[in-house]
Amino acid sequence: MQRTARLKRKNDVDPVLVHARREAIIIAAAWLTATVYSCAYCYLLGYIRRDRPLGPDDLHPILGMPSWFFWGVIAPWGACALFTFWFAGFYMTDDDLEAADEPAAGAGDAS
């Protein structure tokens, strides 16, 4: 809350906006990392391509799953879950989103 009050005085910029923008940029980076890693790993090691035929001998099961699926989907899923716990549990700020205004003109009851 102190950080929020300091930001308000310093810039007259809404601190919710500042925090939300910073958090959105970090989330975008996390999404990009997960996308690039999973797509690249699965394509390189788990896709049948013209120059790379695969068959039952190439499954190398880990806990019954094909190894490409385990390392390309399950492992990053676990890593993302850990990151999310840190991010939402400790990094995101509890900003004051203010009380609700009266419903917009035309909204609410007309009585």
Binding site: V16, Y47, P56, P66, L97
Partner: protein
């Protein structure tokens, strides 16, 4: 093994499912009582901005008929690569709730917005933008509702006693070419969901969502060991699947066809994690959560919930390929697997999971469509001085009318329901995501930019689906566009995959570019309006 068409559960299955439905109806009654005091519209459509973390996480409209009917159908048909198709759910809780959550929550409070059209109209100061939003929400959500109603009927159908179906089939109104079991199930599903949603409003949808989401998790947890045991384990199931469907069942890009080439793999990381942010059902929940702490905990709960639901579903339906090797319609795999594996009472409980997913999705979406018609069009433009009693009955009536209209269209469902879900998700995200992000974070965004962004996003989506449906050759575009690559899910609703990418990528890109470009060439927004939404709120400033 019985032929799949002949599968009917025993009576206890139906009783267990009926008990679940009655509890849902009961929650609708209690919800109606709970919201009798105070402003009707804000409570009926937004739950008085009081949603807690559990409710937001479990009702973020992530689970639907697609989750329990469409998605299993794809895993069963194409194998392990469908795990990559859904893998963006690993980051989806962060993107869907974390990127826009705080700002949409704040803007909704500052504007007093109740619906998405309200929010855009007030943020950009444009009644035209409000109307366009209403029309697009109604169109795309109603399309998706057809898939959800069909999914609900498919799940219920095997739980109906054979004698009921035979009696119903003898009725003269049931056409010769129609599936009587499906029709009866559709009628029962429609009556249930329309009744409790019309009567209970938003709180009913939320409470039943939470109850049904918990049932879903329990159902999946019960089904997982049953499926693994019956198939002889995942490794054995994979080998059996590869023998039946080809090596593509164990690898990318999928069994029998190029279901998921790398361009689509990238596209679906955009599809679920990014387009999920722009769904009206998500944005409405972001307008309704209690506070920022609630938002953080919602992200945590949704992360756990996604992992507990989606990863086991992949395992279950990989196993299903060896348990039910020759289903005529893969969209029926979930209910048939349950009826085959579980004892009748447990089958009823597990069937309640997908049934609950569909019920909860439909109830939330029905409300958004009816709120668009009643609040955004009828009350705002046709009858601004309507009395509250009139609005109450219009809301009940419109919810029921929309439900019945969708049920009529769902009498003839297309194959691969998931494609309807993908089409409508793409359409909604390409219409609403860019205006929402620009409106939340960019001072220079203008009403004209938001309208352009919305129109271009929706237009690109529909154009690419039309070209896919009729082919470039038929439309006389062969000189401009090469034939669409034969990738992705087959069926009538297959889009044109420009450069191998799903339309969601192109539509989102075009929508964003249009929003920025048109904003920059039009007159800057009123500084007072910008200050209202981007400056420090004087009322909230302790100084």
């Amino acid at each position: 093994m019985n032929p799949p068409e002949a599968i009917h559960a025993e009576l206890p299955t139906l009783l267990a499912l009926a008990a679940f439905t009655l509890i849902s109806l009961g929650l609708g009654f209690v919800a109606n009582l709970a919201q009798r005091k105070g402003k009707f519209l804000e409570k009926y459509f937004l739950g008085n901005r009081s949603l807690g973390a559990f409710a937001v996480a479990l009702t973020a409209a992530v689970m639907s008929g697609g989750t329990f009917v469409g998605f299993p159908s794809l895993v069963y048909s194409f194998g392990w690569v469908v795990g990559l198709w859904i893998a963006s759910y690993m980051v989806a809780p962060l993107t869907i709730l974390g990127v826009l959550g705080k700002r949409i929550g704040q803007l909704a409070r500052r504007t007093g917005a109740i619906t998405l059209p309200d929010l855009f109209r007030e943020r950009f100061g444009s009644p035209g933008l409000g109307i366009l939003t209403s029309v697009l929400v109604i169109f795309f959500l109603a399309t998706n509702l057809v898939a959800q109603f069909s999914a609900g009927a498919r799940i219920l159908k095997p739980a109906l006693p054979a004698t009921w179906v035979q009696t119903f089939a003898a009725h003269p109104l049931v056409g010769l070419n129609l599936d009587a079991g499906y029709l009866l199930a559709l009628a029962i599903f429609t009556a249930t969901v329309v009744f409790y949603t019309s009567y209970g409003g938003f709180l009913a949808a939320i409470w039943t969502d939470v109850f049904q989401s918990l049932i879903m998790a329990v159902g999946v947890m019960i089904l997982l060991p049953l499926a693994l045991a019956a198939s002889g384990g995942l490794a054995h199931a994979t080998e059996t699947g590869m023998k039946a469907a080809g090596d593509g069942f164990g690898f990318g890009p999928g069994a029998g066809r190029d279901f998921h080439p790398i361009g689509l793999a990238f596209s679906f990381f955009v599809m679920w994690a990014i387009t999920g942010m722009g769904q009206p059902s998500t944005l409405v929940r972001l307008m309704a959560f209690r506070d920022a702490r609630t938002l953080r905990f919602s992200i945590l709960y949704l992360t756990i919930y996604n992992a507990v639901i989606y990863i086991p579903l992949i395992f279950i339906f990989i196993a299903a390929r060896s348990i039910l090797p020759s289903l005529p319609s893969s969209d029926d795999v979930m209910p048939h697997l349950i009826v085959k594996l579980a004892n009748p009472y447990v089958a009823g409980l597990i069937l309640a999971a997908p049934y609950g997913a569909v019920l909860s999705t439909v109830s939330g979406w029905l409300l958004i469509v009816s709120s668009g018609l009643v609040h955004d069009i009828y009350q705002r433009y046709l009858h601004p001085t309507a009395r509250e009693r009139t609005i109450v009955w219009a809301s009940y009536g419109m919810t029921a009318l929309v439900g019945l209209a969708v049920a009529v269209v769902a009498i003839h469902p297309p194959r691969y329901l998931q494609m309807i879900v993908v089409f409508s998700s793409t359409g909604m995200a390409s219409s609403f995501l860019a205006p929402a992000v620009l409106g939340a974070f960019w001072r220079r965004a203008t009403a004209a930019g938001a309208i352009a962004s919305m129109a271009v996003g929706a237009g690109v989506t529909m154009t690419l689906y039309l070209i896919g449906r009729f082919t470039p050759e038929t439309l006389g575009l062969a000189n401009l566009l090469p034939p669409s690559p034969d990738i992705g899910t087959p069926g009538a609703l297959r889009p044109y995959y420009l450069l191998g990418l799903d339309p969601c990528v192109w539509a989102l890109l075009a929508s964003t570019v249009a929003g920025i470009a048109v904003s920059l060439v039009t007159k800057p927004p009123d500084p007072a309006r910008v200050r209202d939404f981007f400056g420090v709120d004087a009322a909230a400033d302790p100084a």
